[in-house]
Amino acid sequence: MDARGIAFGWLTLAAAGMVAGCQSSPAPQDMARTSLGTAPADLQLMCATAAAVPSGVDSSRILPTSSSQLDATNYRVDLDAAGSKFTCVIDSSGSVKSIGPATAAATPAAPVEAG
């Protein structure tokens, strides 16, 4: 391999390293997280806003009560709309995938009867 080939090889490796570095390091604002994997605050509030129509409750009276990360891009947000429970699924871009009344199976706080 001549000198130009070696130089090209090093440049390629350096470029690959830079790309890999960019891909693996989160932005400064994302350099902290909780092991619980809760939804970002803005996504929780977007779900609360989106629940106003199906619940018939003003969005100022709808509160997120729990959230969890479903997969790499989707979050589940549980909501309390003036006493009625709703569940929202939202992706990291802020697109609401689904929203509706919480089912019994989706309400883990409900008591479970053994046997």
Binding site: T34, T38, P40
Partner: protein
């Protein structure tokens, strides 16, 4: 003002019927929550606990980047000037125009808030007085010295240089946003239930927030249902 004593009084909070109360069973599970920060040197996420926080603060003389005050994208229908408190992530957001927010790192309660709700800044105070609760007075000679209240402005005042008092209507809740004399505790679950910022940040927030500002408190321990 008797901030700490009020924090211990749960009966007042119980009267705030509009708050969404957390299940009693949630409190023991709070221990499952673990703050993690990204270590740029190793490229790995590492647990952020009291020991780690003290080490980093002693070495760097500042908080990890994630907990430093910064402008972040924030998509919301809430009006600029609204405060949003995310105790899980240890962030306080002050909504700005243009889909942005100023994000501050916070320290929150050891056992979580136990509630979520919408409150407002009912009062602000510069150099607030700190009055230790009776149980602290009983066991701590230093606290006993200040049983009648430590004047604001002292470098050892636990409330720091500013406090914002959270109200429901005209009623004072048991919660405040205030400064701290332990800046390394930002990002941790350490307080008696209030929201603490480092002193530079609480002064910055104080100057930006008006009395009457809306405050949305998201449920702490909000992912405890995960996997159930």
């Amino acid at each position: 003002m008797n901030a700490v004593r009020e924090k211990r009084s749960t009966s007042r909070l119980g009267r705030l019927g509009w708050l969404v109360a957390a299940g009693i069973a949630l409190a023991p599970l709070m221990a499952l929550a673990q703050t993690q920060i990204y270590d740029s040197k190793t490229g790995k996420w590492v647990n952020y606990d009291k020991k780690k926080a003290r080490q980093l603060y002693a070495r760097n003389k500042q908080l990890p980047e994630a907990f430093q005050r910064q402008i972040v994208p924030f998509r919301t229908a809430e009006a600029p000037g609204t405060i949003i408190i995310d105790g899980n992530q240890h962030f306080l957001y002050l909504v700005q125009p243009g889909g942005q927010a100023i994000r501050y790192g916070i320290g929150v309660g050891r056992e979580g808030f136990g509630w979520a709700g919408m409150v407002r800044v009912g009062r602000k105070a510069e150099n607030p007085t700190w009055t230790p609760p009776p149980e602290m007075v009983a066991r701590d000679p230093h606290a006993a010295k200040w049983a009648a209240g430590m004047p604001g402005g002292r470098p050892d005042n636990p409330l720091g240089p500013r406090a914002m008092y959270l109200f429901v209507g005209d009623s004072d809740t048991i919660y405040r946003i205030h400064g701290t004399i332990e800046p390394w505790t930002i990002g941790l679950d350490v307080s008696s239930g209030c929201i603490r910022l480092n002193n530079e940040d609480v002064i910055d927030l104080y100057d930006r927030v008006d009395v009457g500002a809306k405050v949305i408190v998201l449920m702490q321990g909000a992912a405890l249902y995960k996997g159930v």
